[in-house]
Symmetry: C2
Subunit: 195 residues, 2 copies
């Protein structure tokens, strides 16, 4: 006697994403997710290995969304079949990427933290993160040249994630214009990398 499906992986993922943002990682419990999709907690294990796997799923989908935004509106590789990229104005592109990342962090702080948390809670593979940051690596290469591209990209991502992490932690609550400090960092780093 088959039983009808009362929920779906998509619904579970959506519920997990909402709960993470609303109540933090601690609020993302199997019982809360189950309640949100109208099922009992044990049923979740039909679609998801365990809580860790569900959190990894939430992190992965957040990273997908972020990567899409980073690629959006970006100069694309020549459609004529050539493998050369036409990156125009790398400094402007760097600024766009940085602001896109920061906007995502403001919009979905808990998801951002999950993705960029130093630690293994997100369950994201490093390789996946690196693939998502390809746009930044390209800008770094355009700015610093192929030899220094890796060091430059690391410097840029380190600064950006560090800055946003501090901002989310409330480290900038005490005075000063945070937007200005972010612009300051982009400008100075861009110049430093290019030099």
């Amino acid at each position: 006697m088959p039983a009808p499906e009362r929920t779906s992986l998509e619904a579970i993922l959506a519920a997990g994403t909402e709960l993470l943002e609303a109540d933090g990682p601690a609020g993302l419990t199997m019982q809360a997710v189950a309640g949100r999709v109208g099922v009992r907690a044990p049923s979740l294990y039909k679609r998801v290995r365990n809580r860790r796997a569900l959190i990894a799923l939430v992190a992965a989908s957040a990273l997908d969304e972020l990567e899409m935004r980073l690629r959006e509106g970006r100069p694309v590789a020549g459609s004529g079949g050539g493998d050369e990229e036409t990156v125009i104005e790398p400094i402007a592109e760097l600024a766009r990427l940085a602001h896109t990342l920061r906007a995502f962090a403001h919009e979905r702080p808990a998801a951002y933290r999950l993705v960029f948390a130093p630690g293994e809670e997100s369950g994201l593979e490093v390789e996946r993160l690196r693939a998502a940051s390809a746009p930044l690596i390209e800008v770094a290469a355009a700015l610093a040249g192929p030899d220094r591209a890796l060091d430059a990209a690391r410097t840029l991502t380190a600064w950006a994630t560090g800055f946003i992490g501090m901002e989310l932690a409330g480290a900038f609550r005490l005075g000063g214009d945070v937007d200005r400090a972010f612009a300051f960092g982009i400008e100075r780093l861009g110049a430093a990398i290019a030099s």
Copy 2:
């Protein structure tokens, strides 16, 4: 009938610190701490409000230790009563601070993550963190001038904590010389801030 004290706040703090480093935040349970100090879990509540407070204690003591190291070997204010500081070679001092921070992170990664995690798990007040980073703010002022000191200090701390966070997360596992990338960042940022 008074009962003899079978443990102490110091022992509890030490046990918490050890457990955090050995088993991560999830391993820092009241039962594990109690077991380590030779007592039952409920007894801990005589010395500590709850688990969160204990974690905050661990974070605070780690920050104390880090601050000590950052101040160690640093040029001090003139002992003649003047209020002018004699910071010699700000670039070298910046490098020393950055390497001290990174060495601490390598030595006590879990404690480092707890202190610098974006979020409120550490229970640290922002003001306390800012006080601990005073040495860096001084270097930033020496390099960038008083007007830009705050922006410069934020750029530096953002980069350093971002870099180390990525390193601890294993983001640099794939090729490249991490030490060189760190040195690259110090050099370029120092120059960028000073310009």
